[in-house]
């Protein structure tokens, strides 16, 4: 079964690189991780991101964030829709990569890709509507125009779960992008091949350089640096162990960055939770603006 599933990556014994600021650097640390199939044969290597890589990615995200936030919501929606198109076009490759390590059946992989495309479409549609749900005009008791609106927090680190790696990374990435944040996506787990390939899909979509960056490596190792980085304003994570979740919460106590931790029991396939506007509450700041209204 394994040999069939891995047929399309048989010849692809290469080192996948990171995706930072629209380019594909190797980890500055020179480190890489081997990805193996069920029989223990090395399928490929992926870059093992370091603290410095994280900082470079955050810097790139910072440079790109304002322009992305100021793009029209209509424009952002089309860019997210383009990601759906790119995944659709690479459907068979995605299925093969999901199956490559021998832990996932082709039918489960096919289902995951279909759900992934649905997730892209759902968030593509949210960009120009979420402000109407989360914000609004406030009926204050006085002669003032008062409105509250969600604004992106800035740079968000999105930590993808190990399970269902494609659906998982999209589940943490898309809500952050939809509301105008620039994102550093961190992917660990036993099968980072799809994450590494996803960077290549992003490069050929219309996501501006720096808006979405992809790091592969070991999540637990990066968490202290994610937590302490003062130019990271938010973090959304899924699949964290209890210890990693605590380390993240402890680290952010000092700088008050906003953190959304999706419970390990969260069903990633459930649109009721993962396509819901309530998932972005800590990826935005509610800003309330007052102005007198008078002749």
């Amino acid at each position: 079964m394994t040999s069939n599933n891995t047929s399309t990556v048989q010849g692809v014994v290469k080192t996948y690189k990171l995706f930072i600021n629209g380019a594909f650097p190797r980890s500055e640390s020179g480190r890489s991780l081997a990805v193996k199939n069920a029989k223990g044969r090395v399928l490929a290597h992926v870059s093992h991101a370091s603290r410095k890589d994280l900082r470079d990615a955050v810097e790139a995200a910072h440079g790109a964030q304002t322009k992305w936030a100021n793009a029209t919501a209509y424009n952002r929606g089309q860019v997210l829709y383009r990601i759906a198109e790119m995944i659709q076009a690479r459907e068979e490759e995605c299925i093969a990569l999901l199956c490559a390590t021998g832990k996932v059946t082709p039918s489960a992989a096919r289902k995951e890709v279909a759900l992934s495309i649905e997730r892209c479409i759902a968030w593509a549609g949210w960009t120009d509507k979420i402000g109407a749900i989360l914000g609004g005009k406030q009926p204050v008791a006085g002669p003032y125009l008062v409105y509250s609106s969600p604004e992106p927090v800035g740079v968000v680190v999105a930590i993808a779960p190990a399970e269902q790696p494609l659906l998982g990374l999209l589940s943490v990435l898309l809500p952050a992008l939809a509301v105008g944040n620039a994102v550093v996506l961190c992917c660990g787990g036993p099968n980072p091949l799809i994450a590494a390939t996803f960077g290549e899909a992003l490069a050929t979509s219309d996501v501006p350089a720096g808006v979405a960056n992809v790091l592969t490596g070991k999540i637990a190792e990066l968490i202290p640096w994610i937590a302490s980085h003062r130019d990271v304003q938010g973090c959304i994570a899924a699949g964290l162990s209890k210890a990693d979740a605590r380390a993240l919460e402890l680290g952010i106590a000092e700088n008050m960055k906003r953190v959304t931790i999706l419970d390990r029991n969260t069903d990633l396939a459930d649109p009721a939770v993962l396509h819901s506007p309530w998932i972005v509450e800590k990826l935005v700041e509610i800003k309330t603006v007052w102005h007198p209204s008078a002749l």
Binding site: Q138, L250, A253, M256, R258, E281, K287, W290
Partner: protein
């Protein structure tokens, strides 16, 4: 400058204050297990007002247990019944508002004019607003699975004792939670008076518990593992320690912390109104306001004339007896806070800024501080960076809107910001680019229960007020 003399106009409504207050647990005032009491004083006279119980860890246990016991029946109560309690509480606050305002002024030092016209009306309105939410929560978060958070521990500051209590208790109860609230050690009296009102309105025992005491009681409450949520308003330093304490516990947390808010005056502003805005921005409540506009940025070409006019206006501020209806600036809340403010004022001068303060005699007793402003302030000066929580304004200038934005955002805080300009598009773009949770355009220090309040960055997280504020007291899709 002509000397303005007013005859004294003291507020004369008498308020009964007991000699000693216990803790309000499970619907009764009880003696503390600690056996200890602390004296609360009137900061304007330094005279003792009452002895107030000093809760210890054992008292906190009892209060949390009482809130836990009350939770299920309170959650099961119909939403309409919950609403009726809150509406009734709002009414009783309105009816007893003069008494509460007087008590607030006696215990906190804030001018009666402000406690009567600002604090109390907002307190009643806050309960009224949230009463209406009780049966409408499903419409506030459409499509989500909602549950109350559970037992909430709430710790509030001394600058707006009753208003902060209202901001904490009203949404918590509306969403079906029960609470243990600790007022600040220097301003416990109005919270205890409100406990009487809760009882008078028939609120079931244990739904609200009020424990008094100092930092020890606060720490015991915040770290208590019987809580499902902690809400804190106070300093950023304490807020960070609380966040670390709660890391990994699964307990929810909202923090409303400090600020060093920018107040930006463009040359095209309506200057007379802007002057009034600046005065309210920094000298309202003696500057003991988390969202105070303590960094003033004036467009360079009007800097000189604006500051001269501001100084002239400062001279008309009446500093003194908070119980006098004409008083603009009352007493600083405590000796400790007065010393802290004086420390910053000394530091301002020592670091090279130029001080200007109001003239006039101060009362011989009590903790008073003249409103003052500093010019020649550099962004690196301590008084331009750190929250003073007093009537001290740091004045700086700018040449372009870009520079104003850059300097205004150059802070770890992000609670509020003010902008004065008569150009609509410029005002709106400034609002979009300032990193703060509340932006006041051509006004300052406006509050309303329907308008979410809360900060960016180290000014805390979560909002209070409005639909958005309910989020702090509900589990939405299990989070």
């Amino acid at each position: 400058m002509t000397d303005i003399e007013y005859a004294p106009a003291p507020e004369t409504v008498p308020v009964e204050i007991a000699a000693r207050y216990g803790l309000f647990i499970d619907g009764h005032f009880v003696a503390p297990r600690s056996g200890k009491y602390r004296v609360t004083t009137n900061p304007a006279t330094e005279q003792p007002l009452a002895e107030v119980a000093e809760a210890n860890a054992k008292d906190v246990d009892l209060a949390v247990a009482s809130a836990r016991k009350a939770l299920k029946p309170w959650m099961k109560l119909s939403a309409s019944a919950r609403a009726q309690f809150l509406f009734r509480i709002a009414r009783r606050i309105q009816e007893r508002s003069r008494e509460l305002a007087v008590l607030e002024t006696l215990d906190s030092g804030k001018p009666i004019k402000e406690s009567r016209d600002d604090d109390l009306p907002l307190v009643a309105q806050h309960f009224f607003h949230h009463a209406g939410w009780c049966d409408k929560l499903a419409y506030a978060f459409p499509g989500a699975k909602l549950e109350p958070v559970g037992v909430c521990g709430q710790v509030i500051p001394w600058n707006f004792p009753l208003l902060m209590l209202a901001w904490k208790i009203a949404p918590a109860l509306a969403c079906g939670n029960t609470v243990v609230l600790k007022p600040a050690e220097t301003t416990p009296l109005t919270a205890l008076r409100l406990a009487e009102i809760f009882d008078e309105c028939g609120l079931p025992p244990g739904v609200v518990n009020i424990i008094t005491g100092g930092p020890e009681a606060g720490k015991a409450l915040i770290a208590h593992d019987g809580l499902d949520k902690v809400a804190f308003t106070g300093s950023t330093e304490v807020g960070k320690a609380i966040a670390a304490t709660l890391a990994g516990t699964g307990r929810k947390l909202t923090l409303e912390l400090g600020g060093k808010s920018p107040h930006i005056i463009f040359a095209d502003a309506a200057i007379d109104q802007a002057i009034e805005g600046v005065v309210s921005g920094i000298w309202f409540n003696q500057g003991e306001v988390c969202c105070a506009g303590s960094r003033l940025f004036v467009e360079e070409r009007i800097l000189h004339t604006f500051i001269e006019r501001l100084k002239a206006r400062m001279q008309t501020l009446r500093v003194g007896d908070p119980m006098d209806k004409n008083t603009d600036v009352g007493a600083i809340n405590s000796k400790e806070q007065l010393e802290r403010i004086q420390h910053f004022i000394k530091l301002g001068a020592a670091e090279g800024a130029t001080q200007f303060e109001c003239g006039g005699a101060l009362p011989t007793k009590g903790y008073f501080c003249r409103p003052c402003l500093f010019t020649n302030v550099q962004p690196s000066h301590t008084i331009a960076r750190e929250e003073i929580f007093g009537p001290v304004l740091s004045v700086m200038s700018f040449r372009t809107p870009e520079e104003a934005i850059q300097r205004a955002n150059n802070t770890n805080y992000g609670l509020s910001a003010g902008v004065w300009t008569e150009k609509g598009a410029k005002a709106l773009e400034m609002a979009a680019r300032l990193k703060a949770g509340v932006i006041w355009l051509n006004t300052f220090n406006r509050f309303d229960p329907s308008a979410p309040f809360g900060g960016y960055r180290e000014s805390g997280f979560g909002r209070e007020g409005g639909r958005q504020g309910l989020r702090a007291y509900l589990k939405v899709d299990g989070r």
